[in-house]
Symmetry: C2
Subunit: 700 residues, 2 copies
C-alpha cells in the first residue's frame, strides 16, 4: 500500500514548531527559547523499478514537483503517468516552503514508502571533464507514518476530538463557572451565542485559578459580533472555566461545551490489585499520561506545552507500560533533536542532552527498531560532538556560561555550577548509548571510541566523587575543590545505570537513599528515579508505601491528574503555586505519572532483557499487596501477569523467550514452562512465548 513519504525527521520538525508555539502566557504567545528548525524545502525522492508489464502511476505531492523517468524530466506536474514495462528509475523533486515536501505515488506494484525508496535534500549533481553528470547526494530512507490515504496529507494531520459538556455550572459574580469534572484538554465553545460584545474566558486547573481573572495562567478575550466570535479559542488545559461577558450589546449564550482533544491509542497496559487507592493512583497516572501524550509527549498541559527531553524520557518509559506508542516516542526524539548545526543543548539543558541519548538506547531495548537507530545515528553523532566539544581536559562535562544545569527543582541549597557528579553519570550512560548505536550502525571505530570514553569517565567519577568514608558519591567539584554535599541525585542514577559494585550499591542504599538526613526529593520527576533505584535494590514494600503516601497524598488533595511538584507538608492554595506565581504549578504533568512505570516494571516485573522483548524477564513482587494483576504491551503482543502469595499466572501473546523469577519457601510446581531451582529459595521458570498465547501457572 502506498503511503506519503517525506525527508525523515522533517514532519516532526515542522509539527513541533506548531506544537511548541501553541504555548501562551496570559494571552501572549510564548515560543521556546531555543533554536527552532525548519524542514528541507526541496527534497528528491527516488526509486528503481522493474515492471513485467506497463503500469499507470498516480502521483500526488505536497508542494510543486517534477518527475523524471530514467533521468528525463516530464512535462509539468503530471498527476498520472504510464510507466512502460522494464527497468526504470523514477525521480521526483518536491519544493514546499510552507510544509514538508511530501510525495505519494501509487500503481499496481509501485508504492511510495520506506521500502525501495530514497530521499535526499541535496542530490549534488556535478559535471565531469567529459561532460558527464554525476550525483553525489547522501540518500536516506524516507520518513513516513500512517498516511496511507492520498487525500489525508501529512500537513493536514490533527489529533482526534469529541464533544464534552461541563458536569456543573454556577453563577459567580458577573459570570459563570463551568466545572468539567476533572482535568481536561481541548477547545471550549459557546452554545447558542447571541448578540455582540466581549467574552472573557479564564481557565483554571483549580476553581481558584479560574476565578482569579488577574492571575490565572491562561485566558481568552474574544470579541463577538452578532453571535460570531472573532476567533475560536485554541486548545487549553483546565478543569474549570470562568466566563464573563462585558461591553455587551445583547450578548448571551446558553452554556460552554468543549471539544476534548486526544491522541487515539490502539492498546493499553493495565494494573489492578487488592488496594483501591493504588488502583486509583494507577488510573489517574494513566489519565495523566493520556493527557500529555499528544502530537508529541508534552510535559505539562497547562503552562509548559513544550517538549522537554528530561520529561520525555520518563514519558517514553511509562508509555512502554501503557500504550507502547512507539511512533510518539520516535516523533518526540526527532523533534527534540531538531537539525544541525547544534547550537545549544537539547532544551538548552545539559542533562537533557544526555537523557536524549539514553532515551534512544532505552527505545532500542524495548523495540529492537534498528531502522530508527540508523536514521537517528548521524544526529546523535553531531550532538555528541557538541557535548564532547564542551568537556574539560579530563573529559568531564562542566557547565559553560550558557548551559542550563537543571538536575531538579530543589528547595534546599544546592550549587549547580562546576563539575557535577550527576552530570558525569548521565554523560557516561549517554556514551554507552552512543557505543550501542555505533555498533548497530556498523561504525565500529566510533563504538570503540565511545566505549573507551565511557570507561575512562566512569573511572574518573569513581576516583573523584566516591567517598569511601561517607559511602556515597559526592556532589561536585567547584573551583577545583570537592563540594562534599550528598544528594540522592548522582547516587540513585549510579544504581539505575549499574555503575556501582554490589557493595557500593548497598552502601548507597543505606547511606544515602534511606538516610533521613539526606534532603528529600520533592518532585515526582526525581522521585521517579529515586523509587526506581529502591525497586532495583528490592525495597518494594517501602516503595509501595511511598507511592501510597505521595501519590495518594495528591489524590487526597483532590488531584484528578498528577502534578509537577508535591510537597506533602503543603496544603490548600499553597499547593497551586510555583515559580513565584499563585497558579504556576502544573496540575497535570507527565512526570507525575511514574507509578505506571514502577508498577509495570517492578511489581508486575515485566522487562525486556534483549532488544524488542526477544528475551524478557518477569519478576512479580507483591510489595505488601495481596494480589496484583495486569498487562504489559510489547512489540510482539501483551504479557499478562497475575500474582498473589500462592500462584503466579502468566499469559504471553507473542514470540520471545521468557523467564519468570520468583522466590518460594516451599517447592513450587509449574504448568507450561521449565522450572529451575537457582539457589536457596530462588526459582526460575523458562518458557517460550507464542503468537497463540502461552500460559504458565506456578504454584508456590
Amino acid at each position: 500500500m502506498a503511503q506519503w513519504i517525506w525527508y525523515p525527521g522533517d514532519f516532526e520538525v515542522w509539527l513541533g514548531n506548531i506544537f511548541n508555539n501553541r504555548r501562551t502566557e496570559r494571552g501572549a504567545m510564548f515560543p521556546p527559547f531555543w533554536k527552532q528548525d525548519s524542514h528541507w524545502v526541496t527534497v528528491e525522492f527516488s526509486t528503481k523499478v522493474c515492471l513485467e508489464k506497463p503500469e499507470k502511476i498516480t502521483i500526488a505531492a505536497e508542494g510543486r514537483y517534477n518527475f523524471a523517468l530514467d533521468g528525463r524530466l516530464q512535462f509539468g506536474m503530471p498527476k498520472t503517468y504510464d510507466i512502460p514495462a522494464g527497468e526504470h528509475s523514477l525521480n521526483f523533486k518536491v519544493w514546499n516552503q510552507v510544509t514538508p515536501p511530501a510525495l505519494y505515488v501509487e500503481g499496481d506494484t509501485i508504492h511510495s514508502g520506506p521500502d525501495g525508496w530514497l530521499a535526499t535534500y541535496e542530490d549534488k549533481i556535478w559535471i565531469d571533464e567529459n561532460g558527464v553528470a554525476h550525483g553525489s547526494g547522501i540518500y536516506v530512507t524516507p520518513g513516513y507514518w500512517k498516511f496511507h490515504n492520498i487525500d489525508y496529507r501529512p500537513s493536514c494531520f490533527h489529533l482526534e476530538h469529541e464533544e464534552r459538556q461541563a458536569v456543573s455550572s454556577e453563577t459567580v459574580g458577573d459570570g459563570r463557572l463551568f466545572d468539567f469534572g476533572k482535568e481536561t484538554f481541548g477547545r471550549v465553545f459557546p452554545v447558542l451565542l447571541e448578540g455582540s460584545g466581549m467574552i472573557g474566558i479564564y481557565y483554571g486547573e483549580s476553581r481558584e485559578e479560574a476565578l482569579d481573572k488577574e492571575h490565572c495562567e491562561t485566558l481568552d478575550l474574544i470579541s463577538c459580533n452578532n453571535g460570531i466570535m472573532e476567533y475560536m479559542p485554541d486548545t487549553k488545559a483546565f478543569r474549570y472555566i470562568y466566563v464573563e461577558c462585558f461591553n455587551g450589546n445583547g450578548i448571551r449564550y446558553e452554556r460552554f461545551d468543549m471539544y476534548y482533544e486526544y491522541a487515539p491509542q490502539s492498546r493499553s497496559g493495565s494494573f489492578r490489585c487488592n488496594d483501591e487507592e493504588v488502583n486509583r493512583i494507577y488510573d489517574v497516572s494513566a489519565y495523566t499520561l493520556d493527557l500529555t501524550t499528544r502530537e508529541f509527549f508534552m510535559d505539562g498541559i497547562k503552562r509548559d506545552r513544550w517538549t522537554w527531553s528530561g520529561d520525555a524520557i520518563q514519558s517514553y518509559q511509562m508509555n512502554y507500560y501503557l500504550h507502547f506508542d512507539s511512533d510518539c516516542v520516535k516523533r518526540t526524539i526527532r523533534q527534540l533533536r531538531g537539525k544541525d548545526p547544534v547550537t545549544a543543548h537539547v532544551n538548552t539543558i545539559m542533562d537533557y542532552s544526555f537523557y536524549w541519548f539514553i532515551s534512544i538506547s532505552d527505545y532500542y531495548l524495548y523495540t529492537a527498531d534498528t531502522a530508527f537507530i540508523h536514521e537517528i545515528y548521524p544526529r546523535m553523532q553531531t550532538l555528541m560532538d557538541y557535548c564532547l566539544g564542551r568537556t574539560n581536559d579530563e573529559g568531564m562535562a562542566e557547565g559553560k556560561p550558557d548551559d542550563w544545569i537543571f538536575v531538579d527543582w530543589v528547595d534546599f541549597p544546592m550549587h549547580k555550577r562546576g563539575i557535577l557528579c550527576f552530570e558525569q553519570i548521565l554523560l557516561c550512560k549517554a556514551l554507552e548509548a552512543m557505543a550501542l548505536c555505533a555498533d548497530i550502525c556498523g561504525d565500529h571505530r566510533s563504538q570503540e571510541r565511545y566505549m573507551r570514553l565511557a570507561d575512562q569517565l566512569l573511572r574518573r567519577i569513581k576516583d573523584i566523587f566516591w567517598d569511601e568514608k561517607l559511602k556515597a558519591l559526592l556532589h561536585s567539584i567547584e573551583d577545583g575543590s570537592l563540594n562534599t554535599q550528598i544528594t540522592k541525585f548522582p547516587n540513585m542514577m549510579a544504581i539505575i545505570y549499574d555503575f556501582l559494585s554490589p557493595k557500593e550499591r548497598i552502601d548507597v542504599l543505606h547511606g544515602v537513599m534511606l538516610n533521613p538526613e539526606v534532603e528529600p526529593i520533592t518532585t515526582p520527576y526525581m522521585r521517579y528515579y529515586e523509587l526506581e533505584a529502591l525497586c532495583i535494590m528490592g525495597k518494594h514494600d517501602y516503595v509501595m508505601e511511598e507511592i501510597k503516601a505521595y501519590w495518594g497524598g495528591m489524590l487526597k488533595e483532590g488531584a484528578t491528574s498528577f502534578w509537577e511538584k508535591y510537597v506533602p507538608t503543603e496544603h490548600g492554595t499553597e499547593l497551586l503555586a510555583m515559580y513565584g506565581r499563585p497558579y504556576g504549578k502544573s496540575l497535570c504533568h507527565a512526570w507525575g505519572a511514574s507509578p505506571l512505570y514502577l508498577l509495570g516494571k517492578y511489581f508486575l516485573g515485566v522487562r525486556p532483557t534483549k532488544p524488542g522483548y526477544t528475551e524478557f524477564e518477569i519478576c512479580p513482587v507483591l510489595g505488601g499487596l495481596k494480589w496484583i494483576e495486569g498487562s504489559v504491551p510489547t512489540p510482539n503482543g501483551d504479557i499478562h501477569v497475575y500474582a498473589d502469595n500462592k500462584v503466579i499466572n502468566v499469559n504471553v501473546n507473542g514470540k520471545g523467550n521468557g523467564i519468570i523469577y520468583f522466590t518460594s519457601y516451599t517447592t513450587p510446581t509449574c504448568d507450561g514452562g521449565v522450572l529451575e531451582h537457582l539457589h536457596d529459595n530462588h526459582y526460575a521458570v523458562r518458557f517460550e512465548g507464542t503468537a497463540a498465547s502461552a500460559a504458565i501457572r506456578i504454584s508456590y
Copy 2:
C-alpha cells in the same frame, strides 16, 4: 524612520528559494541540486530605550508575535502600545513558518531598524540554582533593506514591470510568431482572449527556437475556458514566442503582449568613444547585465535561472562599473552561502566556494561596508572550515569524489581531477580574503592563521607548479605526477591576484597569454579574466582588438544580448547549441557582459586603491581609440573621465583622494590638482574629491 527588520540573511534565503525554483526545463520545474535552506522560524527582536516622555508605538509583524515590556509579556498581539517615560527594554518574538519573521515598530523616537536593535534565533533562557533566569543568546544586528512602509511587507517584495508589445508578428503554420525585437524577460499574456481550448506558447531566444516546438527550452501549455487561462505564464526569457491554439472551441486572441520585469536602478555608469562598434558593445553589455540583475544576480535568464557564484563575482565587478547596486551584491552573497551546516561547496563547485570569499574582499574594496563584513564573517569561517577540512596533508585543495571542479567549459582535452594549480591559486586568494575580514572583525588570531596558510600555499604553488624552463604555471598533479599541460587559467589568475614576480609576469605574458600554441578560451566567462590579465600587463591595444573581434563578432551574428559561449568559427544554428541540445546555449548570460568591467576599470581606468574609494586611481588608456568618455559610480558619487591623445578631463562628485596616472612625451599642464613627474614619461596628478565636484584638466 522605522523599517521592517528580520534575521540577517533570512530574507535572501527565503527569496532565493523562490528565485531558484522558478527555473523550468520544457515545462517541468527544475530546482537546484544543492541544499536549499530556510529562514529561522522564530526570531526575537529587542531594543532598549530611554524616553523623555511617554510614547505610543505601532507594532506590525509578519507572523504571530508577542511583546514583552521590561521582561513582562503583554496580552495578545498588541497593534499599539503606550510606552511610559524612562528606561525600558522592548522584546518581540515573531514566529512564521512560511516567510521570514519580520517586525516593524514605529513611535516618535522608537524606530525598528539596524540601529539599536538586535535579533536572535535563540535567546537561550536558563534558570540558575537561585531561580533567576538568564539569557545566553547570540545577538546580531537585524537584517533590513528598503521596507520603510508598514504596508509594504518584506514577503510582498517583487520586481517592477511595464507593459510592452511585440515589434512584429507573422503567421507560421497553425500559429503566430511574435518578435519582441530583442532579448527580453517577463510574462506574456494574450489580449482579447476568447473561447476555450489549449494554448501552446513556445519561447525562443532565436526564431529557430520558438518555432521548434519539440526542442525549445521553455514552453507553456495552458488550458483556457471561455477566455480565462488556467494560469498566467510565469516569467520567461525570450525574444520570440510562437503561439498555437489547439483542441479549440472558438479559441482566439488578438495578440500577445508582455510585462517586462526589471530591477529598477537609480544610477548608472557610462562609456562612449569614437568607435561605434565599441559603443554598441558597451550598450549590449549593459543591457545584458540589466537583464541578469534581478532579485539576485542571475547567470543566464533563459535556462539556468539560478545564482552561481563564479558567474556572480563577475556580475558584482561589472555592477561596480554600471549601477553600483551594492544591495544586490549583498543579497546574492548571502543567498549563495545559505546557512550552516555546510554540506557542499557553493553550487557544489570547489572554485565557486573560493570565488565566494574573493567576492567579499572585492565588495569591501569597492564599498568599505564593514557592517556587512561583520555580518557575513561567521558564515565565511564555517565555509572556510569546510574547505580547509577537505585539503590534503600539504594544505592543497584536491577534488573529492563529490566536488565539482569546474574551471571553465573547454573544448580541448583538460583533466580536472587531482590537484589543479588553478584551484590552489583561488584558494590562496580566498585565504587572503579571510585574513582581511578577520582583521576587520578584530579576530587577529585567525587573521594570522589565514595569512600564514595563504603564504605557505603560495610558496607551494610556486615550488610545485612553476616551471622555470617553460616559464609558466603547469596544470596539475594527478596521481602524484605533474601534468605539464599549460593552460591560460592558472597563469592569468596569478597575474590578476598579483602572485607573480615582475619577471614571472612578463614570462607568463609571452609564454602563455600571447602564445598562439596555448589553447584559446572560448567562453566570455574566462575571457573576462584573460583580458583583465592582459590589461594589467598593459596590452590595451590587443584587448581592444579582441573586444571588437569577439563581442563585435556576436553582434555581427545578431546578438541583442551577450552569450554564454561564443566560438568565432561557428555560424548559424551551430551558435545556438550547447550541452548537446539545439538551443541549450544561453543567449543572455551575465558573464557575457565583461566589456562593462574592462572598459570602466582599464580604459577609463577608474579603480579604488583603499576601501570605499577613500583613495582611488584613474589611469585612462585609449587602447587604440581616439577618445573615450564615461562615468564610474562610487559610494561617494560619480567619477567622470574624458581622455583623448591631448587632454584628460576628470570630474569627481564625492570625497576621496584621487591620483590620475598618465604618460606624456611633452611636459603636461594641469588645472585642479597637483602635478607630479614620476619618472621618464610617467606623470601623476593628485587631487582631493569634494562633494561639490572637483574638476581636473590635464593637457599633455
